[in-house]
């Protein structure tokens, strides 16, 4: 995490993009945007544009990776080459491998995997435009796409990052805050149960700052949960539940 002494992160109680400390960026959620996928979701978080698709439950390949007791969730976080300032070489790098693991573990707790022994539930997240917070946007999108696919779930998972910039604990870092701030802490949770399913932190925080940030993030997840729920309800009210998914398969 680079230090950048010259940036004035906080001015008159507002952040560089005019938000208050506990304010989310704009969120836009579209459900069922893809035809071939069993479930899908387009998620915008500020300038982040993220697409999630879900396939399955279907047969798990390779067979030796099957779990006799429950479905295996595959999660692939992938950045489009043009989603970042310097072109990203296609294919997984170390960062995306780690994010895929953390995201899978963030969603595992709500999926009723035991309903589908030996099966695979595949979640694909494509980052089309990146602006800090892509992993949280990806988890949010994936959670909605799983619901859209009709995968049996205990609940939705919601995700957001908090961090420290200019000495303040703030919600949902943007790119400048992420690059030059003092700490970044993405979390995911089952909002209605106050249960945390993902937690990472890098940078530097005191214990008190950590606790403050955790509470801030947990509160914001409640907001995100409401937006996810609203989007899903909107989807089914449109009567699109009868979409024909098998054409072309």
């Amino acid at each position: 995490m680079k230090k950048e002494g010259e940036i004035e992160f906080i001015k008159d109680g507002k952040r560089v993009d005019g938000r208050s400390f506990d304010e989310l960026r704009n969120i836009k959620i579209d459900v069922g945007v893809l035809k071939r996928a069993d479930g899908s979701c387009y998620f915008e978080l500020g300038n982040n544009k993220v697409l999630a698709a879900v396939y399955g439950p279907r047969e798990m390949h390779p067979r030796h990776a099957q779990d006799a007791k429950m479905a295996v969730v595959k999660f692939r976080y992938n950045m489009a080459p043009f989603s970042v300032d310097d072109r990203k070489r296609p294919g997984p790098d170390r960062r995306s491998v780690e994010i895929s693991k953390v995201s899978r573990e963030a969603l595992d707790p709500v999926i009723l995997r035991e309903y589908y022994p030996k099966a695979a539930i595949e979640v694909y997240v494509e980052i089309l435009q990146s602006d800090a917070g892509t992993r949280t946007a990806g988890i949010n999108a994936a959670s909605v796409a799983l619901a859209d696919a009709g995968v049996p779930m205990r609940d939705l998972v919601s995700s957001v990052a908090v961090g420290k910039v200019g000495g303040e604990i703030v919600l949902d870092l943007n790119a400048v805050e992420d690059n030059y701030g003092e700490a970044d802490m993405p979390i995911a949770m089952i909002a209605r149960r106050n249960t945390i399913t993902a937690l990472q932190m890098d940078g530097n925080l005191t214990k008190d700052e950590f606790e403050k940030g955790l509470k801030l993030a947990m509160k914001a997840c409640q907001q995100i949960y409401e937006l996810q729920r609203t989007a899903l309800i909107g989807r089914y009210n449109k009567g699109e539940s009868a979409k024909l998914k098998d054409s072309g398969t």
Partner: protein, 261 residues
Amino acid sequence: MGLEIMDDVRKDFVRNMLSEGDREDGRGFREYREISLKRDIMNKAEGSACVKLGDTEVLVGAKLEVGSPFPDSPTEGVLITNAELVPLASPEFESGPPNEKSIQLARVVDRGIRGSGVIDLGKLCIEEGEKVWILFLDIHVLDNNGNLVDAAALGAIAALQNIRVPNEKYGLTGEETLQVHDTPVAVTMVEIDGTIVVDPTCNEENAATNRLTVISNADGSLSGLQKTGSYGMKEETIVEMVELGIEKAGEIREKFLNVPS
């Protein structure tokens, strides 16, 4: 096994409809699905476009980076066209390095661009033998409901049309836009039991004995051809498809690519 049977069922379905003069989505044989083209939609890309052909959706992003020229063409920039068939877009796509399908898709689009001299690579030279622009054209398929080539080729030209050269990022000065010298359009047709249909869906691609992509330019000349599939074709069919391809390309160009520049 069950899946293979479903494959056959779908093929028969498509064939039976065609024999009665119908397509699965009610289109005429020489009719495209609704085309939607959005430009300049990705702010990290130097140029971008999103194309929908009915339910098929393809995103194309162009990135420009400063790099070294190839030793044997020191005065030219480099164009690299790449396609990713990410598993998000279809139950048949798998994670992993490019396979023959994604490589063919990228190469056909690439040849169409080169064949008609769309980009003057000489203009992408910054310093002879040392520094040139590397132009990456990345085709990112989001939803595969058939005929990826036409969507990708259309998106590629549209993305090139709205490139902003990132001179400032590299401390350079120079033109801000990239001159696009032609507007090649790819038109793909399949032959199913002797019937020719344009802009095939996935089901039509699977039922087809032959597929031909015809890329043609503003002046009606050809800048690329690619036959796909494990069946033979008659000369007459090919000639008919080439004529039809040029005609449909004109319609698409007129509607989507003749932007005032």
